[in-house]
């Protein structure tokens, strides 16, 4: 197992290298490039601009620039933002935890709803609950989540008011009330709408897989055997069926992560959440290429990493799978 993990990790290196070459090239051939942010600034003359291009080395051939970037990154230097002049790592360190906080909570919420819902729907196939679940799942997978976010704001922020204070029922932007003293209640209130928005698609996806996987398992022979042995329904469901049905879910959990990232971009944009997705959107308009490159590489690495986690966890929970 350890050898398998090491081999897979080693495979990451050429893959990440290839991805970084492609993404770097992509960013460099966008006209405008890193000095675009200054091009329209009246206080910067064309001589200044030329000096800046010289200093940034953007006139060097592409492979030279890539080599320089790679060398710096390998030494832990991701460069400086062309917008704020701050180190890229500092910019990201400011935002990444907020994204993880939002995504983590949405993920747990999705799991807590999806597992029981998929389980019950499968156990009562064709019941009203099942039909309802399937319909909700379908809707949840088809709804444009950015629109869901806007509707949530219209309903719970601008239409419904708190009957006592007349203020909006739920906050619609940021992670906490600006300037207010720290309170857990305030933080929780700010989580409700963004988490609802982000968790919905995930919940739909997981419920669907949980239901399908459970349906698969409960029609198998060993479940009939368990019933025939006279085991209690609860024991059969939890100890026998659920344990086996949850296996494929592990893979889905990890492979769905890129989807959660995409969702986070929209959620952060709509709810002014100071996370990494919003950082990317802001800086994409300003061609802040060192920051964009870092965000792209972090995302690509995470996607690859969770692919590996999916395989490893799958092997750990299912003894039938052996990786040489």
């Amino acid at each position: 197992m350890t050898r398998y993990i090491i081999r897979r990790l080693l495979q990451f290196i050429p893959l990440l290298f290839l991805i970084s070459v492609l993404l770097f090239t992509l960013l460099q051939i966008i006209p405008g490039g890193p000095t675009a942010a200054y091009a329209n600034n009246p206080e910067i003359t064309s001589e200044d601009l030329a000096r800046l291009e010289q200093r940034l080395g953007v006139n060097a051939p592409l492979p030279v620039q890539y080599g320089k970037w790679l060398g710096n990154v390998l030494r832990g230097d991701w460069g400086y933002s062309t917008v704020t002049q701050r180190p890229v790592l500092r910019e990201i360190a400011d935002r990444l935890p907020n994204t993880i906080y939002l995504m983590g909570i949405a993920f747990v919420v999705a799991l807590l709803i999806a597992i029981p819902m998929g389980l019950i729907a499968a156990l009562r196939q064709y019941s009203i609950f099942d039909t309802l679940t399937t319909t909700i799942v379908f809707a949840g997978q088809s709804i444009p989540i950015f629109w869901l976010g806007l509707v949530l704001i219209i309903v719970f922020h601008s239409t419904l008011k708190n009957p006592l204070t007349g203020a909006p029922l739920l906050p619609g932007d940021g992670m906490s009330t600006l300037g207010a003293p720290f309170s857990i209640g305030d933080y929780l209130a700010h989580l409700i709408l963004p988490v609802t928005m982000l968790a919905l698609y995930q919940t739909a996806q997981l419920t669907r897989f949980m239901r399908a996987s459970m349906l698969d398992v409960i029609h198998q022979d060993f479940i009939r055997t368990a019933h025939a042995k006279g085991l209690k329904e609860r024991v059969v469901v939890v100890r026998h069926a659920f344990k086996n049905a949850a296996l494929p879910l592990v893979t889905i959990l990890a492979l769905d992560l890129p989807g959660l990232f995409n969702g986070a971009v929209f959620t952060e944009t709509i709810f002014s959440w100071p996370g990494m997705g919003r950082l990317f959107i802001e800086r994409a308009f300003l061609f802040d290429y060192p920051v964009l490159m870092a965000i792209l590489m972090i995302n690509a690495a995470l996607i690859l990493f969770f692919n590996l986690v999916a395989d490893v966890v799958y092997a750990l929970v299912d003894p039938r799978i052996r990786y040489a």
Binding site: L15, L18, I19, L22, L23, L26, L27, I29, I30, P31, G32, Y126, F138, A139, Q141, S142, I143, P144, F146, W147, L150, V151, I153, I154, H157, S158, T159, P258, F261, N262, V265, F266, T269, F280, I281, A284, F285, L292, I295, L296, N299, A300, I303, L304, N307
Partner: protein, 287 residues
């Protein structure tokens, strides 16, 4: 075969309703100038942000344009982008998957590693960058003002699942006896790949393609919503939501209707895909 498929498809009621919805949307899009008396890009500042009335079924937007009319014209673009980018994705995916699955060996390894690379791209971010790039480059065959760059980009970043599907199908089918028989009577590689094997992989491709249209519509609207897709004043469902954002607290209809259109189109197409999956797979029990 076709008749049986249709018989099975007909029994899937949500899918039938989905077909009805999509046919309606397409008719409305095609006959937009007849359906609506208004011009989608004509400002009329006297009637800004009016709530829905009989004259303006979905109200008016911040420049006094009729929202319903803009939605009709927007659906032309949103639906066209959905269908065309999916066709591009399915074509690319089928070619890559077929080449990999049919030849195996080195070709397979290279093509599948390439698929892995594309799958590891943070999709939304790369979509944003490539659309920005194409708009700036303004290639003669992908003019920046048109929506061709969006189709191109979505298509070229969505072929991976089709490629894997087709590869798997080719891997299993190429060992079948009828393939050997075709080879025996002297059929060449290309003929076997496209005349003998391809028709037998049609079912999963059709289903993936249908669901792909829904996904592309979502992707386009998302990109346009973020400001990286089709640019104003050309309306699409996505960029209408973007402009609605500024006034949605006091003119919620400007945000509700475009999203409702995306939602209904996507759910209708997803149900059609679901129905097709049931109808095309003889092993699946049909309730």
């Amino acid at each position: 075969m076709l008749e049986m498929t249709w018989r099975r498809f007909r029994r899937h009621r949500p899918a039938l309703i989905g077909v009805g919805v999509i046919v309606l949307f397409v008719l409305l899009a095609v006959f937009a100038p007849i359906v609506s008396p208004y011009d989608p890009e004509q400002n009329n500042l006297d009637i800004r942000l009016q709530p829905p009335t009989l004259e303006h079924l979905m109200g008016t937007d911040e420049l006094g344009r009729d929202l319903f009319t803009r939605i009709l014209y927007g659906s032309r673009i949103s639906l066209a982008i959905g269908v065309l980018s999916m066709m591009l994705a399915v074509t690319v995916g089928t070619l890559i998957g077929a080449a990999a699955g049919f030849h195996g060996g080195g070709i397979d390894a290279v093509l599948m590693r390439m698929t892995d690379v594309f799958l590891a791209f943070p999709r939304l971010f790369v979509l944003i960058l490539v659309t920005t790039l194409l708009r700036q480059l303004n290639l003669p065959w992908l003019p920046a003002g048109s929506f061709a760059p969006i189709i191109f980009v979505i298509g070229l970043l969505s072929w991976m699942s089709v490629a894997r599907l087709v590869r798997a199908a080719y891997l299993s089918i190429r060992e079948k006896e009828y393939v050997e028989a075709a080879r025996g009577v002297g059929a060449g590689d290309a003929r076997i790949m496209f005349r003998h094997i391809l028709p037998n992989t049609a079912s999963p491709i059709i289903v993936a393609g249908t669901l792909g249209v829904a996904a592309s519509i979502l992707t386009e609207s998302g990109l346009s919503y973020l400001g990286f897709g089709v640019q104003l004043p050309t309306p699409t469902w996505g960029n209408m939501l973007r402009s609605a954002q500024a006034q949605m607290t006091y003119a919620p209809w400007t945000a509700v209707f475009p999203g409702l259109m995306i939602f209904s189109a996507v759910i209708a197409i997803n149900y059609i895909g679901d129905g097709l999956r049931d109808a095309l797979d003889p092993q699946r029990e049909v309730r």
